[in-house]
Point group: D2
Chain length 411, copies 4
């Protein structure tokens, strides 16, 4: 293909058009590792609550790159110097920041992989691609790892007000239809500046930052931690745990070869050398959902029951409570279920379980969002906000829940 043809434009219902800025970026997007993201849903099982939420990590990554282009443009307009190499590195870093995500990321920890964070895996992918592309990703990797001296570049990629969050909040609000979760990324970017290589927001943008934090909080409780999404995701985790258990005990479950591999082996971050990385790169939502579809008909009562729940959206009952669920209540429910279906203690844990969820709209211990005041001083947004009392927003909120089969309703 000739060079000019690679300078493609992609349609995006949110931004209109997304432009691919150069052929290196084009080639990265075309790489099977990146194309894989087309088959990984951005919001996991949330489409069971929000039927429009089928957008992918592929689309999100492109969206991030698009607004990074806007950020670079704005900062240069304000006379922040960004070299062409740095610019390009920013695009690559944001494009690949999530490439390490597996299918249903949270669900697969402790089942597919063992305690490997997706950012670590992203780094494995970046290094691998850097080899394939003759070192052209080195600066991007340096920035991504926080080893580049210009700190704001990392902040654009990973901070409490980065391009990642700006795109996903906007995109998730758009595709779920939770319209009030929308943020004005365009204005936030317009308000960005760099002082002493630190990313700051001009004071007049403070209300948009507040709105951003409140919108994020809303999206957490209304979408990401919605009780139905939550129970679906937990059920998925249980399914994969059960499947791994059965596999480890010698049962050969029908599933794709790469998924089989991760069921049979315990891979932690030390095991992510190349052959395993390549295997991991073959996994996506389709392996998981297809497996669950066939497991619906498996002999194992636990595996088939849970699988049917997901496939037919006939989920466990979930109750949110403000206090921890008592041991007695759990024991009581479990014994009823054990009697009902003749289950062992181990088995019943797959159907009746409790837990807690936590969210924090703003993390005071992490890197703050810096407000650049008219008097040229810089303040943490928590201090700069005159009224919203963002201190309150930085206190984590915890909610407790209990899940159990519908047959036990009323028990």
């Amino acid at each position: 293909m000739n060079q000019i043809n690679k300078l493609k434009i992609l349609n995006d219902p949110i931004y209109g058009f997304i432009t691919i800025p150069n052929t290196l970026i084009y080639d990265l997007i075309q790489h099977p590792y990146f194309q894989r993201l087309r088959r990984i849903s951005q919001m996991g099982m949330s489409y069971l609550v929000y039927p429009g939420a089928h957008h992918t990590r592929f689309h999100h990554a492109l969206g991030c790159m698009h607004i990074m282009q806007k950020a670079v443009q704005t900062l240069r307009f304000k006379e922040v110097e960004i070299s062409e190499d740095e610019e390009n590195a920013l695009y690559i870093a944001i494009l690949l920041h999530d490439i390490g995500h597996g299918p249903f990321s949270h669900a697969m920890e402790h089942s597919i992989v063992e305690s490997v964070h997706h950012e670590e895996i992203s780094l494995f992918f970046m290094n691998e691609l850097n080899r394939e592309f003759d070192g052209k990703l080195s600066l991007a990797i340096q920035i991504f790892k926080g080893e580049y001296h210009r700190r704001f570049m990392l902040q654009l990629i990973s901070s409490q007000l980065d391009m990642d969050r700006m795109d996903y909040l906007k995109r998730d609000s758009f595709y779920t239809g939770v319209a009030e979760g929308n943020i004005n990324s365009e204005r936030l970017i317009q308000m960005m500046h760099v002082v002493d290589d630190v990313l700051v927001i001009e004071e007049k943008g403070i209300y948009s930052v507040e709105q951003f934090l409140v919108a994020r909080r809303l999206m957490y409780w209304q979408a990401y931690l919605h009780k139905t999404s939550l129970v679906a995701e937990l059920t998925l985790t249980k399914i994969l745990k059960r499947a791994k258990e059965l596999t480890q005990m010698g049962t050969m479950l029908p599933c794709s070869e790469p998924l089989q591999f991760f069921m049979q082996n315990k891979i932690d971050s030390s095991g992510f050398d190349n052959p395993n990385l390549k295997k991991f790169a073959l996994l996506d939502d389709f392996d998981i959902v297809s497996a669950i579809k066939s497991w619906q008909f498996h002999d194992d009562f636990v595996l088939s029951s849970l699988s049917k729940m997901i496939i037919n959206r006939d989920l466990l009952k979930i109750k949110m409570v403000t206090e921890k669920v008592s041991k007695e209540h759990m024991t009581d429910l479990k014994s009823k279920m054990m009697n009902l279906h003749n289950l062992s203690e181990k088995e019943v844990d797959y159907f009746i379980f409790k837990g807690k969820i936590k969210n924090q709209a703003y993390n005071k211990t992490g890197e703050p969002i810096h407000i650049y005041k008219k008097d040229k001083t810089i303040e943490d947004v928590v201090e700069a906000s005159d009224q919203l009392n963002l201190k309150a927003l930085s206190k984590p909120v915890t909610k407790y829940f209990i899940c159990f089969p519908k047959v036990l309703l009323g028990s």
Copy 2:
């Protein structure tokens, strides 16, 4: 016109279509008193900052009626009984709740009328219309005055989460382009319920309420109290004050006859009997702006200078400060200006002045927004919010400002 033709549908860029539910409503909308609202801008002089903000009080009133229809529908679906008469009264009351607004409402107090609140004038209009329409507005008036026993009906019309606020926030955000000020009125309405004749919001809507309050706060600081809108409005007030002063001293200023009348007479609420109400009903933005256009060329230096500022959008400089402006600074600026233009002390006050603005996102002393919890108890949203610390939102924020001519910049 036959009856069927009156059942019109109006285009609205926000809601799609607005349906006029019956012929009485149609006739009210057709009344010159209501048609007048087509010539009164909803956001006053804000179009000097947001060029799209030319929407009118007419359009807003229709929008309110539209979402009131949705509210009635939702409440009835939840088996809240609302009779046909009550339904109709709700539509009339919300349609007419702002009919008493004059042009540039805030600017005209103490100049056109003397300390008469627009809600009082709305009531004068409603009573007058009630006479014309043979008492068909009686129930609407009763609700509007808070004299009807079903309290939620007043709350739908006038409270901290009423149809008025829902429409104007959405509409102002839309027309200004301050996208992050958008709220999800549809969801807020879906979450509404009535318990013991009190309007409540179901608990799962609490995040939307929080977002609503934060969006409102944002719209205040970013739009309604934007410093450029503010200085424009204050200048307008000064112009009308000066004009009244000159008129009272015997100078005949060119302006429309109704405006002339209000310049010559001091009308307070006791003077709003019918002939005066009819005169008032002739006033709209066109009288004011036309007058200012001709006053640009008047001999009086103060009047012409200020008028030119508005017409050519060449405004006074305004500075927002966190502390009160000192007397010394004022005196200093004033004496410079007096020398520069040979002005009297009284005259210089038209060019150099200070003040403060105040906003409160949530008013704890007023009627609270009630959250209807899953355990069937009702709580003030301030207590029910787990994290946002809405208490902080209920503390008024005050900002100070000073206005002065650009020639004094650097003084």
Copy 3:
């Protein structure tokens, strides 16, 4: 679950909220046959061109039901009588009209099933569901089959201006970001009326009908028949054909059990009795994509090459031409490819092939779109349009194409 809980509301980014009108509809939506549609993409492989186009047939079906509610409301407002039973039947019929779609519908004809149209399969499903739901779907089925005496009801479900087209055009335009393909379904519905049990559009809606037809034409050429979607879909067809061929010759390909079944057996419409229908109901996009993912690594050169093309979006070259491709050109290309990869004549046909696509914006031979003129006469839109010359729009347009591997570019 109690009855009230079933009266759910679903978020939709297009319409805001979709209300499920009653428990029968709720139960149909919950049925595994319907839930399956969550796993079938509305636009097949189009997401390879438009990364946002991951919406599903599930969501589309709900959208259709939503606008059917609007249509019923509008028609009743115009005093068209529609009984509660008829209303309900309309919702059921539109909800289920596409339930017979398999994954990548067009691709699977002649491979998964043999010449069975998806509407036939929809009917099989409806009949089956009617048995399960004790005959409650009978009227819906009668309407769907065109056997009900009130013709406009069928027209609402299946005609050149039905709820199906209105929703999918709007939805596909929305998710692809092809903004100019958007239509105003709300206005079109407002303009609907029924005269002598025939669906008509009031004359003043004629420009919206024209715009609808032109938008539809645009969506065909720009999205549905976009050359990249086209070559992807054709490649998919070839893959399934090859897979069936290999299976029939005794090769056991890795894939899900239901897909295996349809590879092994030739099922035509006569074979759609219950056990086969149940098998068919297990098929969705996940079976197909998962199979192709594993077939990437199969020994068969044809199967693995084509599979890789889809998975990595590294497709055959496709050229659109205005005239039929000559035999000579085909032979020439094929012989080059045969030499290059040592392929048989049969095998090379999988890589080099030609064809044509056809589209007709308006079908004059089908049931016309009726315009209801002010003089109470009814006219076909083609006659009623004063200028657009819709006659031209009813002439089918044919385009020819040829597909071949990129290595042959320049040959």
Copy 4:
């Protein structure tokens, strides 16, 4: 003001943000001649039909400049050379192309001015501004007059697919809520190219061009020539005609001084030298509407009756017919009205009149829209379109109408 402060950003609900590219443009926008456009409605009296249509020529001009920036960017990306001076001239020319519009343009011809086209007046303004700005507008004027050798630059400003039309169609569709009149200006611009200094659209954009033409046609019939807008505008014309008549006969009507001047004098294009241009620059919607408001109470029956119709939106009845209205019918209606109100023959013509409107979606005799085909040839879109039969679109459509008072309904 320092230079950097002038690099302002303006909110636009349609495009998000509009950037003012340099200080010359900033100063032009600040000029009273341009600020005047804030007080001239883009769609005249259309807000009587579409309550949201209060957007101004000011906003439209800025919108045009914004998409011109996009066009320059796209063309440069395609390696069309555009110098900085040319770029700037394009922005100036499009910004000022409509500056000659008076209030309610069409209505004021033959009443305020005598047969002077607004483009001529725009040129008077440009020349005047060029003097004030020391010749910095010379290139812009050259382009505007079609005297610059690079023809595509004029085409961007004034042709059948210029920035003007792209902005106003999009904007008018947005503010009226006629959603299906929306066009995809972003895509149309993406498809632009320049071949031999002629503006062309790449072939793959042809469907967007078709949709653009059909949307334009729809906007004409549904909005610009909507019968209610039409009758309002015609009534306005009659009012101004009557006012001029009365003034010329010596009656002194209350109105602003500049309007007075144009009532007293017959100004044709030869009279547009500086003092008159300055007077013209003082006129806007506020002069007209204010005058009409006071004329409601004038002694002249004709003037007051028509004025009340506009102010209270209580308009004449208008009937659209396909054939010319017969003389007999006119005479009959007129004599009834003369008897009813004791009017002269001359006076009755103000209440009962007929006429025709004409629209042509595409003008074949003007400069064509050029399609740039893949084989590098250029074709008129009418020839290039395979199906839409744009030939039909280039035939003018004529409709006839008659206006008369409602009291004569049924006569």
